[in-house]
């Protein structure tokens, strides 16, 4: 039972490059989330999805795009990476009701 799997675990980009982070969950959860966590800070919500084919903006959506073409996958894209996007990115899924969110182990992204 893998839970929430994030790919890749580490990545270094140059300013202006693009990339996509993949989040996959095998729990059939409707809700999925992308957060970023900067050093010494809590998690901040970037985008989220309440079901296949839907996406919505969170607290810090600028510079990111997302897609949820399949229920089990939630993709986070950086079109033109900036040094300010250097962070650890966490994906989470949630079934709703009184159940907790399940988090992946994060993707550490450095932009030079």
């Amino acid at each position: 039972n893998a839970g929430v799997t994030q790919t890749p675990k580490f990545r270094v980009l140059k300013t202006g490059q693009s990339m996509t982070l993949l989040c996959a969950q095998d729990m059939n959860h409707e809700y999925m989330y992308w957060y970023r966590q900067d050093p010494g800070m809590g998690l901040r919500l970037i985008h989220y999805s309440v079901g296949e084919g839907t996406t919505a903006k969170g607290e810090v959506p600028d510079g990111y795009n997302v897609s949820r073409l399949k229920k089990q996958n939630f993709l986070l894209g950086l079109e033109s990476a900036a040094p300010s996007q250097t962070s650890v990115y966490f994906c989470a899924s949630w079934t709703g009701a009184d159940q907790p969110q399940h988090f992946g182990d994060g993707t550490r992204l450095s932009i030079l």
């Binding site: 989330y33 010494g40 809590g42 919500l45 009184d98 969110q101 994060g106």
Partner: protein
């Protein structure tokens, strides 16, 4: 979304009971209170969740007073491995997004 306030950091010694209090003055009627634990280089991990009164599981207890404007996470007899950041979240039963505060950094000393 209810905003939460927690102490930034706490220190404790092994074997002691640790209580971390979270304030959420504008909690709504349909909001649950959830606590997560996060170790370095890992995603947050669920500890406990409650709506009112007291909830206990194998790792912690959660105390919620009648007015629900605060909650206290209680960790009995902490060990060095309990050193982590603890987050208090308040969100609706069918909430669509969650707000994490900076959390409480707990350091357990030998």
């Amino acid at each position: 979304l209810a905003k939460t306030t927690q102490p930034i950091s706490m220190d404790s010694y092994e074997g002691q009971e640790v209580n971390i209090t979270c304030s959420h003055n504008n909690i709504a009627t349909n909001d649950y209170i959830t606590w997560y634990q996060q170790f370095p280089s890992q995603g947050p991990r669920f500890i406990i969740q409650g709506y009112k009164t007291k909830v206990t599981n194998e790792v912690a207890s959660l105390f919620i007073p009648a007015d629900r404007k605060s909650s206290t996470l209680s960790l009995p007899r902490v060990s060095l491995s309990d050193t982590a950041v603890y987050y208090c979240l308040v969100g609706p039963f069918y909430g669509q997004n969650f707000v994490f505060g900076p959390g409480t950094r707990l350091s357990v000393l030998p």
